[in-house]
Amino acid sequence: MPLFRHPEKSPLWRDEFSIHAADERYVTRRQFAKFLTLASLGMFAGNLWILLRAWFYKKPVYPTTHVASLGEIPVGDVKLFHYPTAQEQCILIRLSVDAYVAYSQKCTHLSCAVYYAPEHQRLECPCHEGYFSVRDGSVLQGPPPRPLPRVVLEKLGNDLFATGIEIQSSG
C-alpha cells in the first residue's frame, strides 16, 4: 500500500465525497478503522511507557525525618506529618504504650485523605468507604486496589524518625 498519494491521481475529495451511497459507507468505515488502529497504537505507547519506567526504575532515597517524641501523643491518638516531601501527608498512630505505626494518608483508590477510626481499629476513607487495617495497612473493604504505603519508623533515643516508605502489594 503506498504511503503517499500520487499527484496525478484523482483528487482526494473525489474519493471522500463520492456520488455513490455505497462509497460513502466505505469511507466512513475506513476512517473508523484508521481511528481504531491509531487508538491501538496509543495503548501500545502506554504499555511501552510503563516498560521504560520499569526498566529505568531507581530505588528512591528517603530522608530521615523527625516525626514525634515518644509519649508525645496519647495511646489511640494520631499525629499528622509530612513525609518524604512537604506535599505528602502521613498519619502516625499510637496503638499501645510502645507500638507506633505510620502510613501515607492518601487512599490508594482516588487519593482522598484517610482518617483513623479507633472504635473499629481501622483507617477509613470517607469518599468511597474504603477501609484499611491499622495493623498493616491492608485493604479490609471497599474499592482501594492496594494497601496503604507504610512509613518505616525508627526509635532513636526518645524520638521517632521516619526513614523510608514501604510500598505494599495486595498479593
Binding site: R29, A39, S40, M43, L48, I50, R146
Partner: protein, 80 residues
Amino acid sequence: MKVPEPPERWRGLTAIDGALALIAVLLIVQLWLLSATLESFLAGHRETALPAAFASGVMLFACFGLYLFVEKVDREARKR
C-alpha cells in the same frame, strides 16, 4: 436524482464490518491490559511490564493487519 450503482459495490462491506468488529475487540483487550499493567506497576510489580508490552505490540500488529485488509477491500471496491 438517485445515481444507479452496481450491487457488487456493497459486497465488501460485510468483510469490512467483520474486520472492524475484530479491531474493536482487540482494542478493548488492549485497554484492559494497559489498566492492569499500570495497576500492577503502581503496586510495585515491575516484572509484568515486559510481557504486557509484548502482548500489546502483538495486538497492535493484528489491528494494523486488519486495517490493511480494510484498505485493500476498500481499494478493490473502488476499482469495480
